[in-house]
Every structure is written in C-alpha cells, then in structure tokens.
Amino acid sequence: MTAVLVGAAILAAIMATRAARLLSSALWLAAVSALLSVLFFDLGAPQVAVIELSVGAGLVTVLFIFAINLAGEAGKPPAAVVPAWLAAGIAVLVPVLLAALAAFEAVATPAEPGPAFAEMLWQQRGLDVLVQIVLIFAGVLGLLGLLAEVEAPLGRSAVKEVVARREQDLLALESAARKEEVRV
C-alpha cells in the first residue's frame, strides 16, 4: 500500500514537472499533496496529514491558480540554460549518493509513549509556533507590499530636493574641470 502511494506520488510529481500548461502543473501538484496526505495518515501522523491536505492541496493550489491567472503563461520556446541530460543526471546522482550514505535500512521502532500531539506542539515546541506566527505575519506584510498598486506621488519638497541635488552635481563637475594642478 505504502509503495503504491509512494509510486503514485512520484509519478504525479514527474507529471507536474513535465506538464505543458502551468495550470496542469498546479493541479498535478495538488495530486501529489493529496497522495502524500494519505501516506502521512497511514504512517500514523493524522494531524500532519490533515494540515498537508488542507494547506497543500487546498490553499497553495488555489493560490497557484490565482497567480497563474494573473501572471499568465510564458510564450517562449524552451531552450534550457542547463541541458536536460545534465539536470537529470544530477537529479539521479544526488539521491543515489544520499542513499549510499544514509542508513535507510534501520527498522522502525515503535512510537514511544510520549505527549499527545497537541501538547507536543503547543507546549514543547511552543517557540516554533511563535515563530510560525511571526512568519505568517511577515508573509502577509510581504504580500501586501508586493501587490501594492499605487506609487506615492513625489511631494513638493521631494521635487525641490531632486532639483537641488542636480544643481550640486553640475557645480561639482565644473569645479573638477577647473582643477588642472599637477598632482603632488
């Protein structure tokens, strides 16, 4: 069961990469999210599964669709900076090396009796949650700042500053031209 899910997830990811239209890519990404969510549930991590499903397959996908609609498709013919075979080679090489390094043959140990998820998250990793809140706040600010439409018009004083600075530059140029002394 796990193997099927994993295989399907990888397939979906590959499809996301190779889809011709951006919209299809986004939808395949949603599929990856969904499959992974089921996988998480299987593993015994239901809370993460739910979050992954709602955030990954829901929020992020919607955002992507929004963005794709606003930003549109690119029309240029594909001429990659890095040749595809090199990219594929590296993409295979890194996981292979990691596999050779890491001890993936370890046997799963049964979950130790510890605090429940809620307590773990809010109590023991409380700092993490705080940081996440700050992160979300920062993200919202960034979003608002980036999507701002209006450019502040130059006030009168600002215009005067610009004019004054330009005059100063002209004067400086003149005096530099007048300096013909031998550099001692």
Binding site: V94, A100, A176, R183, V184
Partner: protein, 582 residues
Amino acid sequence: MTALLIGLTIGLAWFGALTVWLVGDARPRLQHILASVFAAGAGCASIALLFRAGADPVLRIPLGGSFGDLTMVPDGLGVFLTAVAAVIGALVVVFSAEYMRGEAELGRYYALVLLFIGAMCGLVLTGSMLVMFICWEITAFCSYALISFHNDDPKAVAGGIKALIMTQLGGVGLLAGALLGYAYFGDYEISTFLARAPGLPPTVLALAAYGALIAAAAKSAQVPFHTWLPDAMQAPTPVTALIHAATMVNAGVYLLARFFPAFQSVPGWSTAVVIVGLLTALLAGCMALVAVDLKRALAYSTVSQLGYMVYAVGAGGVFASQFHLMSHSLFKALLFLAAGTVIHAARTRDMRKMGGLAREMPFVRTVFVVGFLGLAGIPIANGFLSKELVLESGLVHGPRWAFWIMVLTAGLTALYGLRMLTLVFAGKRRDPAHLHDPGPAMRVPLAALALGTLSTWALAGPFSGLLERTLPHHDLHAQGTSQWAQEVLAAPVTWAVMAVVLAGLGLWWLRSRMEPITRTPLPLARALGAGLGFDYLNDRFAAATLGAASGLRRLQTGQLSWNVMGMLLALVALLAALLLWG
C-alpha cells in the same frame, strides 16, 4: 603598564582615525588638529614603550578556535619599528596640516593615515603570525587607498592597483607560512616557530624560507618586484614619506630580520638574500641616476637603500640592517618631505625645470643637504655609521665580490644624491616663478627629522643592547656606541668606502669636463629610464590576470538554473567526498 602603552599606541591611532572621519569634511581645521593630536599621542606612547621592551608577550587574548591568540611581544625589533612608525607618522601628520590645506576629503586622508600607523605598529609588535598577516593586509590596503587618494586621476588609481597587486603576492606567502607553522607546531606564535624550526622537514623549511623571501621582496620593492614603488609616487608626498620611505616598505626587511634565525640554515637562502639585495641596490641606484622626476629618483633611492638592508640581513648582520633601517627612515622621510615642499612651490616634479631654488628656499635647502649627507653616508650623519656597519657585516660574513659591488654602489649613491641636490638647488633659476620657504607646520617636522639624521648614530650602543637583550633566538652581540664608532673608524674598509664616495662626488662636480665619457652610455641610460624591461613584464602579467578574470566572468550568467546547478554539483562533490573519505 606595557600592555597599556601598546594599547595606547595602536588605540590612539585607530580611535583618531575614526574620530577624524566622523568629524566630517566640513570642519577641516578641526580635522587637522585632531589628527595631529592623536598621532602625537601615539608617538609619545611608542617612545615610552621603548623603555619597557622585553622578550615575553605582555598581552594574550585568545581569538577562539583555530585562530590562535592575539599576542603582543614588545621585543627590541618591534618597539623600535613601532617608535619609527609612530614618531615619523606624527611628524608626517603635522606636515600634512599645511601641505594638504585646501584639499578635499581630508577625513578619508587622515583616517587612512592613522589607520595605517596603528596597523603598522600592530604588525611589528604582534607575536602571532596570523595577526601579523592581518596587519600586513591592512597596511597594504591603506597604501593602495592612499596612493589612489586623488581617485579622479587615472595614473594615481593605476599606481595604487599596481602596488596592491604586487604586495598582495607577498601577503599570500605570509599567510601560507603562518598556516604551515600552525599545521606543524599547533600555534601561530613566532617564538614557537623560531624555537622549533629545525624540527621541520627540510623541504618545508626551504619552502617557507623562499616564500618569505618573495613576500619580503614584494613588500620592500626588491628586484624583480620593484616596479610598484616608483609608480606609487602618485600619492600625496606626506604619504610617500610615511609609507613608502619610513614604514611599510620596511615590513619586508622586518620579516627577513625576524625570521632570520629560522631560515639561515636553509642551503642557498642567505646567498639568495644577498644577491637580491645586491642586484636591487645596484640597479635601483643606476635608475636613480637617470631619473628626471624628483620623487621618482627618491623612490629608486629608497629601493636601493632597502637593497642594502636586505643585503645586510643575508650577510647575517641583523643589527646592522635594522640600524640602517632606522637611519634610512629618518633621512628618507626628510628628503621626501623636503621634496614635497619643493614640488609644491615649483609646481613641477621635473628636476630639469628646477634649479637655483637655494636662494629662495634656504631652509629647505639646508634640510635637504642634511638628508643628502645621510644618504651618501658622510661622517656626521647617521647614514655614515649605519652604512659602514652594513658593509662591514657584508665583508665579514658575505661573499667578497658582493662586498665590492656594494662599495661601488655607495659611490653611486653619493653621485646621484649630489646630482639631485645640485639640479634642484644650485645654478640658475630655470623657471621664473615665485617661491618661498614653507610655513611652521611644515618646518617643524623637517627640522626634527634633520636633527634626528644628525644625531641618531649615537643610539647604536643602546639599540644593539636592546636587540641583544630581547631577541633570544638571534644571537646578537651588543656594544657601546663609542665601541661601534671606533670599530668602524678603525677599519680600513671604511676609508676605502669614503674614497669611493668622494670619487662619486667628484665625478659629478667635474661632470662638465667629462662630457665625452658621459655621452657614450646613452642607450644604457635610456634602458634604465625605461626600467630595464621590468615594467613591461609587470604590465604583461597584470594584463594576463585581467584577461583571466574577464574569462571567468562568463561563469556569472545570472541564470537561476545555472546557479542551482552549481549548488547541486557542489552537493554531489560533498557527498562523494563523504562517501570516499568520511
């Protein structure tokens, strides 16, 4: 107390740099005053430090991890060079108050000069090779920034970059030496290196020795790395007097003197040092003879005298080389500052356009004569005793043929010195512009340096005692001043040298009668004027480096995919390395 003095010397200089910069260019008078005060403070602290020299580290601050400790060892070699740097630095700063009046961006100027003074003191006082390297780099940066101080002049900028590139070669050698020391001995301390150097495998020691020679040759503008010093004359003259006569160029000689006990046993090293010093002294002397730019002639003269110091170290006369270093710093700074006033007044650097300035600038003429006496090695100036000591140690320990060439060069030195003196001050006025003697801010440093030139030969005894006491690895022998003087005056060699010097002076005096003889070596003179092809080689080298850099630019595509690719390739390499050797 000693640690406090060291802290004051370096700290006052650096704090002064920050303060003058922060005061801003809107208040130049305040900048002049503050800079002078801080420099003078550092100078006084360094003189007080002279009396508290010792062989043990007085300051030890762990820098954490594999950076070793920040140690300060006020031994004889260090405190004397500190005093030279800080005192001449203070005099130069006072001189700049009038010389640089009306110039723009004084904050940058003074900040760099004060930063340099502090870094130079740190360089010679520290006992850690890593900290020495850091200070070395700071001085190189200050030198570059000050040479190209007038950064709207392309010649100045080119000169600065040339100086930077060549002296950085030396810096790399120094870093390599420091890391070698750390790898083999576990710490960066110079004392450890000197004590345990015989334990290094011979090839490693030879590598370190020749690397140090290259580093010193690049920093002290020895052949074949001498081409940057004449081009560094684009700097404002007080800067030239401080950095390229009295302090930074001495760092190379200091390096050789410091590590001499460790490297003298490397086969062929001493001879190589002697040859480098010899070639430099001779070639640079010849180039000084044909130079028409006053500052350039003085620059070649500096290179030539540095050659004397290097020769002395190679011949085993560490005390002689350092004593000549002190004398040279004084009279060369004097000559440069005096030349600065001349150039400032006559508005030209070409000696052929000067002449007859003695009438209108008698004070400058007098101090220039004193400087000339030091340069030529005439008995009342400090240059006499120090140069004779150098030649004597060369006679005793060095190869005979080298000695005679150095004696000849002494005559050459007198020749070009007198040439400079007469071209500038004697004869008819060739350019009818109005000239006058400089004001007090410029006179005081000149007078102080002239007095020093005439008197510091008396320090030979105490100085040698200081060195013997505080440099345990160097195996030096100290004597009183009168004994040094007697030794020199009694040696027949001295009289031979004096004869050659007089012959040199006579040659110039009678030059009008010698026209037919002086006309023949004209092509040689032209070749010397062109720097004997060294400049050409240097330009080719710089062009090649820039070409390689332009080629490498193509790697910077700015493409995201390319950069990610780079990251992944590095990751692959890292993982592979972990797999193979982890």
